[in-house]
Symmetry: C2
Subunit: 318 residues, 2 copies
């Protein structure tokens, strides 16, 4: 059987969120005004698996070259609006350990007034990814959709404590899966114990709750079961930017291509971890542009093996 395995057609994915021009500094290198933003990162990686439709906003400084990076991966840009002004800009600097990072500046620019309008041709898209933006805008995206089959929500600490907390809570009941990290899970739920936090989130709606644990992988609550996604252990780190987005994108892409049952969900989490491990081995979006299906599947198999214990086992199984 080929790497494409299952013969079903991949379902299209709608990605709504930020496209940015970032300035990133690591101890080794600086990239100025490089393609950034979670919606572009997710689109680049998900497009390895399935057709991707992007809804976002950029300014007049978003060059033809930047458009081409997305277009070359077959991303449908009919929902990418160009507004007067400058593109969202983020500037950050990583510490020597490539773990800690400081934000130097955030300029919202055209993103400040972004109100996502889903083109008519995109409204029946079956898989929807709500990248991290204001939860009220995320809700407005769902209001425009025609009963999507599977909605994945990304969010962050910023929306968990301020006036948007209620909006985020309401949104949980409208999505199928949530991706957050450990710190966000504790902030959202007020629970230190992460399995308890995952159950807390699940009780508010999502069938699947994924809590990312950095270099430990991720804890996933999948319907009535648990799954630990081990990390990929053979790779290096050049630039951690985009790791979380690539995880989400691999997860989404695999779901869109190979299905949403429990097996599909576990497989998709392995593929998410594999995509994240590829993303951090190059600077900025460089690895994402070159992301290769066979390499991701190779790493996903390795990650699966890292978590697999022998079974049936005469000592453990009766």
């Amino acid at each position: 059987m080929s790497a494409d395995g299952l013969t079903s057609q991949a379902k299209p994915i709608l990605v709504v969120g930020s496209v940015a021009l970032d300035t990133i500094s690591t101890p080794q290198r600086q990239g100025v005004e490089v393609l950034g933003g979670s919606a572009s990162y997710v689109s680049l990686v998900s497009s390895v698996f399935a057709p991707v439709r992007l809804v976002a906003v950029v300014g007049e400084d978003f060059s033809e070259r930047h458009h081409q990076v997305l277009a070359c991966r077959g991303v449908d840009l009919a929902g990418l609006s160009i507004e007067p002004g400058k593109t969202f800009h983020w500037e950050g600097r990583y510490d020597d350990d490539l773990v800690g990072r400081r934000t130097i500046c955030t300029e919202l620019n055209v993103f400040e007034t972004f109100r996502p309008v889903i083109p008519g041709a995109f409204r029946a898209t079956p898989i929807v990814f709500l990248a991290n933006i204001d939860p009220d805008l995320q809700a407005s995206v769902l209001d425009q959709m025609e009963s999507p089959e599977w909605v994945v929500l990304d969010t962050m600490n910023f929306w968990m404590t301020g006036p948007k907390r209620d909006s985020l809570s309401k949104l949980l009941s409208r999505v199928h899966a949530v991706l957050i990290n450990d710190e966000e899970a504790r902030l959202l739920t007020g629970l230190y114990n992460l399995p308890a936090a995952a159950r807390w989130v699940q009780q508010r709606g999502p069938e699947v709750v994924v809590i990312k644990r950095g270099d430990c992988g991720a804890l996933a609550r999948i319907r009535d079961g648990w799954f630990w996604v081990p990390p990929y252990l053979e790779g290096g780190v050049v630039d951690p930017t985009g790791a979380g987005d690539s995880f989400a994108a691999g997860f989404l892409g695999s779901l869109a291509r190979w299905g949403l049952d429990d097996t599909g969900l576990r497989r998709s989490l392995l593929i998410g971890a594999a995509a994240a491990s590829c993303a951090i081995e190059k600077f900025g979006a460089e690895a994402l542009v070159e992301m290769n299906l066979n390499e991701i599947l190779f790493r996903a198999r390795r990650i699966r093996d890292i978590g697999s214990a022998p079974g049936p086992d005469p000592a453990l199984d009766e």
Copy 2:
């Protein structure tokens, strides 16, 4: 097949280290002069699986009741010497999150002059556990043994920076497995990346390097492969004291009972994680005294399932 599965006889385990009378405070409870010390904790848990021989020292205040706790589990106490003075005493207090903890006092007492002497009848014990004590004393234990089949080393940050660092380094070449946590692995190796740290340690001798990751489980380098041990996710925490010792003890016990091949090593790590999850659900050594083989095996199967992804999988496997 019964829970005892494989029919081979369990091999005896020699445990050398500290026996203490501890005073532990958690936000809920205080225990005064309760049985503590890593050698007693390990002996209690390993004895569920295999015959255990203990070499340690206690003072005149170590009561008949304390002896009985160990003797009731069948621990061979021929190597437990009683010296004039008081037993090693540690006092600690846990924070509200049951993660952080402060040492209030450490009184070495009779432990200060402990020089382990292995009784003649114990010198051919095939499995040896060197609990966390001065690496020079750990080496002196090995000097007295008749070519043990498998030696497991526990150690801590204290020995990694001071004058004992060289002794610890030399000791690595004489053991088969090392158990440390993430912070200790970084301190010992100077490497932030933990897979790299595990390889660094392995290059110095041990076939197996286990790096414990708290509520994320553990990363293990096993010969030329990797294994991620997921955490048990259904349990609570009453008192984390003894988690690491119970992990080591379950690991050892399973190895002694069911063998040392790669399958046996992965199984033994699952059993270690299962034993640790039992240990923290009660106060002090209470859970260890009641540790039950069927409960440990039940949890080990659950932990195995948490890490298991579907395979063969038509999407991942050709």
